[in-house]
């Protein structure tokens, strides 16, 4: 795994004297996040399931099946590790009061690193206005609630499409992801579940067993962490990067007993070579993680073609070309998964990053249009959008800018590559087949572009 980068502020305010000073001055006090380790329980304590109706009952029953201690009524004094609000049956904004206030009554005793998860339905134009108002209200409420949480706790929501049961594989997989420590740096997000497709894994500790995954940009940073997490989850991993990164790439591939494939993703035959390698060596290809990316930041007023074009070529055009090669090959049909790395810059924009944001916005568009093409094969395509992640790329930022950027999220710190990798692994899993063309932000609920 990647070494933990130095966030001296975070260390300082979690030391004895530093914590006292920060408390006195009212400075942000980010809590060191806890990440998933193999063998960890899904949640480290009881979970309160709020909401009435059959969906709430079904979710509560499912949690019981996962050996989770489930409460249906708030018990004052209990340190809840999780708080689940099943709001699918709310039909009027006034109906939010009951569950919202009951949730509020236990927030102060939510355990450190606790999890709040809403389960709701999307507000559609075809809904009765009051129903749509209630459903959209859940979004606003959740995003605000997430900003109230402290001590590494997060709030996220699963938005299950009309007609899809709340116990559909992808809805439950999203619920597990948000409850677990795998989602440590995912905060304030509402993830849509579009269909009932997907298959729950036989072994929750190895959901990718028997799957062959390719990760581009794998030599360092987020890509290297993705390789590690996919391998931990049972996948056979092919690590791809440019030949110049061969030394680091070999180390990444060898430590997971995978294989290294050196190529430039913009090469015309990149897709063909990826297929050839995976089929010959590993007998198939199931998961394609497009993570290779570059920046050549410049204000648009000063932009030149030699800075603009490579960014679009590597970050999005290469993905399109490789996807086309995979989709037309006939060999990418066993519940295939594409997971692409977008960026919050591609959603919210960032001064000096027109080319980068164009490419990352492009990634989001690409997965939206590619996913439906994979649906007939039980497949899907989705993106993750990292916010501020501690990598070599962000280590090059000016020190003060970096310190400020870290605090600009609800979790008041940068994420780690492993946080993005966990989201990728979740979207790559067989259970995520019902999440079609979506973007999952891994940004600690960054204040920018929410």
């Amino acid at each position: 795994m990647s070494p933990k980068p130095a966030d001296t502020y975070l260390d300082l305010v979690n030391s004895g004297p530093g914590a006292a000073i920060a408390a006195t001055l009212g400075l942000p006090r980010p809590a060191p996040l806890q990440r998933h380790r193999p063998g960890d329980p899904l949640v480290a304590g009881p979970v309160l399931v709020l909401g009435s109706g059959p969906d709430a009952d079904a979710v509560a029953r499912t949690l019981l099946g996962w050996d989770v201690a489930v409460h249906r009524y708030a018990e004052q004094g209990t340190r809840y590790a999780g708080l689940l609000l099943v709001l699918t049956d709310v039909t009027h904004p006034s109906g939010l009061a009951g569950p919202a206030l009951e949730a509020g009554s236990v927030l102060r005793t939510l355990a450190p690193h606790g999890r709040v998860v809403t389960v709701s339905r999307p507000a559609l134009a075809t809904d009765a206005p009051a129903v749509a108002a209630a459903r959209q209200g859940v979004d606003g409420m959740l995003r605000s609630l997430a900003k109230e949480l402290r001590a590494g706790a997060t709030g996220n929501g699963v938005v299950v499409a009309a007609g899809v049961p709340v116990t559909a594989p992808s809805a439950l997989a999203a619920l597990r992801f948000f409850l677990s420590r795998r989602s440590a740096f995912v905060d304030g997000q509402l993830l849509a579940v579009d269909t009932a497709a997907g298959v729950a894994p036989a072994d929750e500790d190895h959901p990718l067993a028997g799957r062959v995954a390719v990760v581009t940009g794998a030599a360092r940073g987020i890509g290297a962490a993705v390789v590690d997490v996919l391998a931990r989850d049972g996948a056979t991993v092919v690590a791809v990067d440019v030949p110049a990164a061969g030394e680091q790439l070999a180390a990444v591939a060898n430590r997971v007993r995978g294989s290294a494939l050196q190529l430039d993703v913009t090469a015309p035959d990149a897709g063909a070579r990826i297929l050839e390698h995976t089929l010959a060596r590993h007998g198939g290809l199931h998961v394609m993680v497009h993570n290779a990316g570059i920046t050549r930041d410049k204000l648009l007023a000063n932009m030149t073609p030699d800075r603009w074009e490579p960014v679009l070529a590597v970050n999005v055009s290469a993905q399109l070309a490789i996807n086309e090669a995979l989709l037309t090959s006939g060999d990418f049909t066993d519940a295939p998964r594409i997971v692409a790395t977008a960026s919050t810059s591609g959603i919210a924009g960032n001064r000096g990053q027109t080319s980068y944001a164009a490419s990352k916005g492009g990634v989001i568009g690409a997965v939206r249009a590619t996913a439906p093409l994979l649906v007939p094969f039980g497949g899907t395509a989705n993106a993750v959008a990292p916010g501020f992640i501690e990598t070599d790329m962000t280590a090059r930022m000016p020190a003060l800018t970096r310190q400020v950027a870290r605090r600009l999220s609800s979790l008041q710190q940068g994420g780690l590559p492993v946080d993005v990798a966990e989201a990728v692994a979740f979207l790559a899993s067989p259970a995520a087949g019902g999440i079609v063309g979506r973007v999952l932000r891994v940004c600690g609920q960054n204040l920018v572009g929410a």
Binding site: A239, V242, P243, A244, A245, G246, E247, L249, A250, A251, A253, N254, R255, R257, G258, S259, A260, L261, Q262, L263, D264, A267, A280, R281, H282, G283
Partner: protein, 436 residues
């Protein structure tokens, strides 16, 4: 163990980009570089944790502490630590020798898989103390009294304290390899222009191979170096012609050998993965070429009239005669470019009727190598020449090129490649590969 030989295949290779001595790899040891090349080979072929049959490699400039260099590289790599290893040294022919000996073991059924390789660092060369100081220290160590110890050390004179750097000069002649080759170059009347043209072709061919991505699955970046550091993409006939001769300047004939048409001192490491057909299939690997046969020759450059680096001139005809082949039967030919004139004298000797009759015992000239089949992906002039690593570089490059040619052809005609590498001590090795 099977009773009759079976094919042994080249399944792939990996090397690090070669660097000019004292440049990017100045801080890397032979062990570091060989381990890096092995790590990349293991990663490319998905062999982490595998127990391989044997790894054989070596270095020409070698520290005495590296007595088990290859085994140490194996222990530092992700292959199963139960993989045996052996050190081999045959000057610049070292890693062709390792390819051949391991291929022979595979052919005999003694091994299923193997890695051949070589490494050399001209930057991290071993420096030792002089013989007088060494003998005084050893005598002091043997002494049983303080007086005798002091007496032994008292023999040491200030000039004895100067360190001795390794030399690649021939011990029996005291001449450097370049001076030896300058004599041969003059004997054959090889022109400066012909040498510069060959050097230019080497740079252009290597640059084109890099640009086309040919080395994507043969080379892994190391210590920030992504391409061979010796390669000059901007070289030109004019630039090469402007260089001053550095060898043969004291001969009667015009000196023609420059830094541009001679290989520079280089750091680097290279490996080749070998295996049986069954082993390759079980690991999802595609055989690129079989190792058909090899021949080692030596010449008497001390007393006889042959030049130091001319042994391949004899090795190849003997090897081809054994298989009833001529030079025309080879799609690709690799002649190690120790110096441009080494290649040109080799070709001239093979094209000479007189030499063919009198020295090779043939009815006439041995044959011709068309230039479009020679060193088509560049050779040592452009790539550099870390002595023991060069053979493995050539074998892996040639095997891939042959496999590609075979795939492009739609027939069953054999696609053969020839490797020949000259070496210090008047040695030379030649090998035949055939595409699969």
């Amino acid at each position: 163990m099977s009773s009759s030989p079976r094919p042994a295949y080249v399944l792939g290779g990996n090397r690090i980009p070669f660097a000019r001595a004292g440049a990017q790899y100045a801080g890397a040891s032979n062990l570091d570089m060989l381990t890096a090349a092995l790590d990349g080979l293991v990663a490319r072929h998905g062999l982490a944790g595998e127990r391989l049959g044997q790894v054989a490699a070596g270095a020409v400039l070698k520290h005495s502490r590296d007595f088990n260099l290859t085994r140490e590289a194996v222990l530092g790599s992700p292959v199963d630590a139960r993989t045996p290893a052996v050190d081999v040294q045959e000057a610049c022919a070292t890693s062709v020798e390792t390819v051949v000996s391991l291929a022979n073991k595979i052919a005999l059924g003694q091994l299923e898989s193997a890695v051949a390789g070589g490494v050399d660092s001209a930057s991290d060369a071993p420096i030792v103390v002089g013989d007088r100081l060494r003998s005084a220290i050893l005598a002091a160590g043997r002494a049983t009294s303080t007086g005798a110890r002091l007496a032994a050390l008292a023999r040491v004179r200030p000039k004895d304290l100067a360190p001795v750097a390794p030399r690649t000069d021939e011990p029996r002649t005291g001449l450097s390899m370049g001076e030896h080759q300058a004599i041969t170059t003059a004997q054959w009347g090889i022109s400066r222009q012909a040498q510069d043209e060959l050097a230019l072709a080497s740079h252009r061919n290597l640059a084109a191979a890099w640009d086309s991505g040919f080395f994507d699955d043969l080379v892994s970046g190391y210590h920030g170096l992504a391409r061979d550091g010796v390669l000059r993409t901007d070289t030109s006939p004019e630039k090469l012609a402007a260089l001053r001769p550095v060898f043969g300047t004291s001969l009667d004939t015009p000196a023609t050998m420059t830094a541009g048409n001679s290989t520079p001192l280089t750091d680097g490491a290279a490996t080749v993965l070998l295996g049986s057909a069954d082993w390759a299939q079980a690991h999802g690997l595609t055989p690129l070429a079989s190792v058909v046969d090899a021949e080692v020759a030596a010449v008497d450059f001390v007393h006889g009239e042959d030049g130091l680096l001319t042994a391949p001139i004899y090795a190849v005809p003997r090897l081809l005669a054994r298989h009833h082949l001529t030079l025309d039967d080879f799609a690709l030919v690799e002649i190690h470019e120790a110096f441009a004139s080494t290649v040109l004298t080799t070709l001239a000797a093979w094209e000479s009727d007189e030499f063919g009759r009198s020295r090779l015992g043939l009815p006439g000239a041995f044959g011709t190598v068309p230039r479009d089949r020679l060193n088509v992906h560049g050779s040592s002039l452009a790539t550099g020449h870390p002595f023991a690593a060069t053979g493995a570089r050539i074998v892996a490059t040639l095997a891939k090129a042959l496999h590609r040619r075979k795939a492009e052809r739609q027939d069953d005609e054999p696609v053969r490649g020839l490797v020949c590498v000259c070496a210090a001590g008047g040695l030379g090795i030649a090998a035949i590969l055939e595409a699969t």
